[in-house]
Amino acid sequence: KSNDEYPMSLEEYRRYGRQMIVESTGGVKGQLKLKNSKVLVIGAGGLGSPCLPYLAGAGIGQIGIVDNDIVETSNLHRQTIHDSTKVGMLKCESAKQVLNKLNPHVNIITYPVRLSYSNAFDIFEGYDYVLDCTDTPLTRYLVSDVAVNLGLTVVSASGLGTEGQLSVLNFKNVGPCYRCFYPTPPPPNSVSSCQEGGVIGPCIGLVGVLMAVETIKLILDVYTVKNFQPFLMLYSGFPQQSLRTFKMRGRKANCKCCGDEPTITQNAIESGEINYELFCGSRNYNVC
């Protein structure tokens, strides 16, 4: 179907034509970068719902989805990749059905498991980029730690109420990681997840679309080691919509994970030596 001389099928040229003619994508060369990329999305909830279809639509070759949650009616105002007929189904399977119909050229792989220190390395291995669409500080530290150890760039985002945040972490192993930004975890009772805090669907959705744009830009090499500046984006939906970009610290030499003398190594994580539960407190965070 595709070889060196004809790297894509005619159907693919027709499907991606409108994005290939945008100069910043780099045409066929850029489309092949997308086709040869493997992206792991952790969480098919409020962020993953709008992000996943744009990644699949753009023609990313392989998309992995990690989520062991099932679809509930209370998710549907914001998790619009699912629907009322899918209530009770695994979110990763529900999303896969939608994406397979949207673009059969994309290989969708599902991981209906809860991400943990013992399975994360196996799941991450082989992917080029990781998207953190989860909703607990515990998982955010774990995703970043594993990505740093495997040399993967992370697009990390979150949202609550009418606001959202986004950052690119461990960019090409030179940018800061989650622990550079947050060396000390927040006290557990100061953290509010959407389980209790409430969220406006399109506000978290907008942040999920921001993630898709950042991922495509990473794959297309719009960011380089030379031009990349660490940043944190803050979106607010009310009362006026705004998107601000803050200039952030670089990688920290004393970071326990990405610094000069790291103690958070693959071995330390996989052996259970890094106790994420204890580290982030015992409060029960639910993925949503």
Partner: protein, 98 residues
């Protein structure tokens, strides 16, 4: 005296009567960010129980990002940063929902 704008983002406005943006005249000579933080604790946070949402061990609580004119305070001297007229100081808690 120094005139600065102070923002409480990411839901942190709960500690200041849900008002996100405040114009502050700080009546201190050569005021630093530390003076501003003291002012926030003493004069702006109405409920004393809320101080621990903002402060831990005499610094900004972990999980809160502090920005000086849209730049990470780590790049600007943190608590020792000397305030200038027109500065925008933003505090945002880190969101976790997804």
């Amino acid at each position: 005296m120094v005139k600065v704008k102070v923002e409480f983002l990411g839901g942190l406005d709960v500690v200041v009567n849900k008002v996100r943006v405040h114009d502050i005249n700080l009546m201190v000579d050569n005021a630093t960010l530390r003076d501003l933080v003291n002012y926030i604790c003493n004069d702006m946070i109405t409920n004393p129980n809320d101080i621990e949402v903002f402060i831990e061990d005499e610094s900004i609580r972990p999980g809160i990002i502090t920005l000086i004119n849209d730049t990470d305070w780590e790049l600007e001297g943190e608590m020792e940063y000397e305030l200038e007229d027109g500065d925008v100081i933003s505090f945002t808690s880190t969101l976790h929902g997804g």
